[in-house]
C-alpha cells in the first residue's frame, strides 16, 4: 500500500500513457511530467505568497490579509486576477523586444532547473549524469534575464538594480558552487539521483544525510547564505531595495509581466531549496528509518516548504545589507570558508571511519569560523555613530 502511494504519480503517468501508441509513449510521458511541474509549482507559489504575508504579519504582531475568503485564503486568487487585468505599460523609450523577453526568459530558465530535481523515488523528469552541472548552468542564466530587464527598461532605478543584481548573483554563484563541490567530492557523482541514493541509508534509525557531518553542516549553512543572495531574498534584497530603488530591475514592469517576475523569483526559491534539500538534507529520503512508509514526495516537498519558511523567517528578522558589506561578506568570509570546507571534506574522506575525523574536522571548521569572524569584525566600530558636518 505505502509502496503504491509512494509511486502514485509514476503509476498514474504510466496508466495515462498506456492509452497511446507505443511510439508516442516516451514523448507523452515527458509532456505529462512537464505539465505536472508547470502546474504544481505555480500553485505552490500562490500558497507561499499567502504564507509569507500571513507569517510576516505574525512576526510583526499583525494579523495579515484576512479579507478575501475565510482567513484570507483566497488572497492569492484576488492578487492573480488583479495582476492579470492590470494595464501592461511599456515605457516609450524602452527596448520593446528585450523588455518583453526578460520575464519570459527568467521563468523559462527557472522552470528548466526543475527538470533535474528528484522530487521523489523515480520522480525525476530527466535523469542526466551531470544534472548538478546542468542545474548550475541553467541557474546562472537567470542573471541574464535580470540584466535584460534592467537594461531594456531605460530607467536609472532599473539599471542600478540590475547592476547590483548581476554583481551580487555572480559573487554568490561562486560560494554556491564551491559548497556543493564538497558533496560531489564525497559522492563521486554529479547526478542528483545518485547523490540522494548515497544519503538514503540508515545507521540505526539515523540517516546518512550530509548535513550530519561537520563539513556538510558548514557547507549547508554557506549554501543557505549563498542561496538567499542568489534568489535576491532579504537580507540580500539589494537589487530590489524598495527604499532606494523603487523596485529595482522590474521597476518598469506592470501587469502580467510583473507577475511573471514575481513568479520567477519564488520558483527560483523553490528550486534552490529543492537543490539544497537534495544535496544536504537527503532529498526525498525520510529523516528516520521508521518513517520510510510515508511517501518520498511528501518528504521532498516538506523539506522545500521548511526551507521556504526559514526564508520568510529571515526576511522578517534581518535588515538589508549595504552593497559593500554584501561584497565583503561574499569575498572575504563566505568564499574562504567554502575553500576551507572543501579541504575539510578531503580530510574527512582520507581519515577513514572513526571518532578521530569528527574531532579533527569539527575543530578545523570551528577555528576557521571564529578566527575569520574575529578578523572580519576587528576593524569594525560598533556603538553610536559620529557625524561630521561640512563647514
Amino acid at each position: 500500500m505505502s509502496a503504491t502511494l509512494d509511486q502514485i504519480f509514476v503509476l498514474i503517468k504510466q496508466w495515462i500513457v498506456s492509452f497511446l501508441p507505443v511510439a508516442w509513449q516516451p514523448v507523452a510521458g515527458i509532456l505529462l511530467c512537464v505539465a505536472a511541474i508547470v502546474s504544481v509549482f505555480p500553485g505552490l507559489f500562490a500558497f507561499t505568497v499567502l504564507l509569507e504575508r500571513k507569517g510576516l504579519g505574525r512576526m510583526q504582531n499583525r494579523i495579515g490579509p484576512n479579507r478575501v475568503g475565510p482567513f484570507g485564503i483566497f488572497q492569492p486568487i484576488a492578487d492573480g486576477i488583479k495582476s492579470l487585468t492590470k494595464e501592461d505599460i511599456v515605457p516609450y523609450s524602452a527596448d520593446g523586444v528585450v523588455h518583453f523577453l526578460a520575464p519570459v526568459v527568467l521563468v523559462v530558465a527557472v522552470f528548466l532547473g526543475f527538470a533535474v530535481l528528484p522530487m521523489g523515488r523515480n520522480m525525476v523528469l530527466v535523469d542526466v549524469d551531470a544534472s548538478l552541472l546542468f542545474y548550475f548552468a541553467i541557474g546562472a542564466s537567470t542573471e541574464l534575464s535580470v540584466f535584460m530587464a534592467g537594461w531594456s527598461s531605460r530607467n536609472k532605478y532599473s539599471l542600478l538594480g540590475a547592476m547590483r543584481a548581476v554583481a551580487q548573483m555572480i559573487s554568490y554563484e561562486v560560494p554556491l558552487l564551491m559548497s556543493s563541490v564538497a558533496i560531489v567530492m564525497m559522492t563521486g557523482s554529479l547526478s542528483l539521483v545518485k547523490i540522494v541514493e548515497v544519503q538514503n541509508h540508515y545507521s540505526g534509525i539515523f540517516p546518512h544525510w550530509f548535513i550530519f557531518t561537520p563539513w556538510g553542516f558548514v557547507g549547508f549553512v554557506l549554501y543557505a547564505v549563498a542561496a538567499t543572495a542568489e534568489t535576491n531574498r532579504s537580507p540580500f534584497d539589494l537589487p530590489e531595495g524598495e527604499s532606494e530603488l523603487v523596485a529595482g530591475y522590474f521597476t518598469e514592469y506592470s501587469g502580467f509581466k510583473f507577475a511573471l517576475f514575481f513568479l520567477g523569483e519564488y520558483l527560483a526559491m523553490f528550486s534552490i531549496s529543492g537543490l539544497g534539500a537534495t544535496l544536504f538534507l537527503g532529498g526525498w529520503s525520510a529523516p528516520f528509518s521508521f518513517l520510510t512508509w510515508i511517501p518520498s514526495w511528501v518528504w521532498f516537498f516538506g523539506k522545500v516548504m521548511t526551507s521556504i519558511f526559514v526564508f520568510i523567517w529571515m526576511r522578517g528578522t534581518l535588515p538589508r545589507l549595504r552593497q559593500d558589506q554584501l561584497m565583503n561578506f561574499a569575498w572575504k568570509f563566505v568564499l574562504p570558508l567554502t575553500m576551507i570546507n572543501l579541504f575539510d571534506a578531503a580530510i574527512w574522506r582520507f581519515l577513514g571511519e572513526g571518532w578521530l575525523r569528527w574531532v579533527i574536522c569539527s575543530t578545523i571548521l570551528l577555528i576557521a569560523y571564529i578566527g575569520m569572524g574575529r578578523i572580519g569584525m576587528s576593524r569594525k566600530h560598533f556603538g553610536p555613530r559620529s557625524y561630521r558636518y561640512a563647514e
Binding site: 507569517g55 505574525r58 512576526m59 510583526q60 504582531n61 499583525r62 494579523i63 484576512n66 523567517w313 529571515m314 522578517g316 528578522t317 534581518l318 569560523y369 571564529i370 575569520m372 569572524g373 572580519g376 569584525m377
Partner: protein
C-alpha cells in the same frame, strides 16, 4: 561570536510569531469597519453649522457676516447673504445665509473659520466617512447638509459645547440686562418727564 546577533533576532521574531497566536494583547490591529475606536474629544476634521432648537433653517446661528469666507485659506466656503432679516437666538433681527457651501475636497481642516466666527455658528465635526462616488458634486456640501443641532455638538465635543453655551448665556444675560437697564432708564425718564410739567422741557427731537 559572529552570528550571535542573527540568532537573537531570529529568536525574537519566533517569539512574536508564536506569541501572536497565544496572547491577544500582542495584536494591536483594529479591524476598522467592524471594530472602531471612539474618537478622542479633540478630534476635528470638517466644519459644520450649528443651529438651536428643532428647525435647522429657523435656528441657524449663522448671520452671514462672511468673515469665515474671507479668512478661509483654501477658499472653500461660499456664502450668499439674504436680502431680508429674521430674528436670531437673541431675538435681534439678523441676516441669514441663503447659500452656504463648503467644498470638503478643498477644505484643509485648519479650523480658522471656527476661530474667527463671532457668533459660535461654525464648529468642527468628527464625521470622517464622507467618501462618495461623485468627486465634484458629492463633496460640495450645502447648508442643509452642513447643519447640525446644538445637541449633536454637545454629543461630539461636550466640554467645548458647554463652554460655548455658557458664553452665549452670559452674552444673552448681558444683553438682557442692558435691555432691561435701557428699558428702566427709559421708564425712569418717562416717569420723570411725567412728574415735571411737559411745557418745561423742550420737545425731544426738535419738532
Amino acid at each position: 561570536m559572529l552570528g550571535e546577533g542573527i540568532l537573537k533576532g531570529l529568536a525574537e521574531t519566533a517569539k512574536n510569531f508564536a506569541g501572536s497566536f497565544v496572547s491577544a494583547e500582542r495584536l494591536t490591529t483594529v479591524e476598522y469597519p467592524e471594530q472602531r475606536i471612539a474618537p478622542i474629544e479633540a478630534t476635528r476634521d470638517f466644519p459644520f453649522l450649528v443651529y438651536d432648537g428643532e428647525d435647522w433653517e429657523a435656528g441657524m446661528r449663522c448671520v452671514s457676516c462672511q468673515i469665515c469666507e474671507k479668512e478661509c485659506p483654501p477658499k472653500c466656503i461660499y456664502i450668499e447673504k439674504s436680502k431680508d432679516k429674521k430674528p436670531d437666538a437673541l431675538g435681534k433681527p439678523q441676516f441669514y445665509p441663503t447659500r452656504f457651501d463648503i467644498d470638503i475636497s478643498v477644505c484643509m481642516s485648519c479650523q480658522i473659520c471656527v476661530e474667527v466666527c463671532p457668533f459660535e455658528a461654525i464648529k468642527m465635526d468628527t464625521e470622517f466617512e464622507l467618501s462618495t462616488t461623485d468627486r465634484f458634486g458629492g463633496l460640495l456640501h450645502d447648508r442643509k447638509q452642513l447643519s447640525r443641532s446644538n445637541e449633536y455638538y454637545h454629543r461630539i465635543h461636550p466640554t467645548e459645547a458647554a463652554e460655548v453655551d455658557a458664553r452665549l448665556a452670559e452674552e444673552k444675560a448681558k444683553a438682557d440686562a442692558k435691555a432691561k437697564a435701557a428699558a428702566e432708564a427709559a421708564a425712569a425718564k418717562a416717569t420723570a418727564a411725567a412728574a415735571t410739567p411737559p411745557a418745561a422741557i423742550p420737545p425731544v427731537g426738535g419738532a
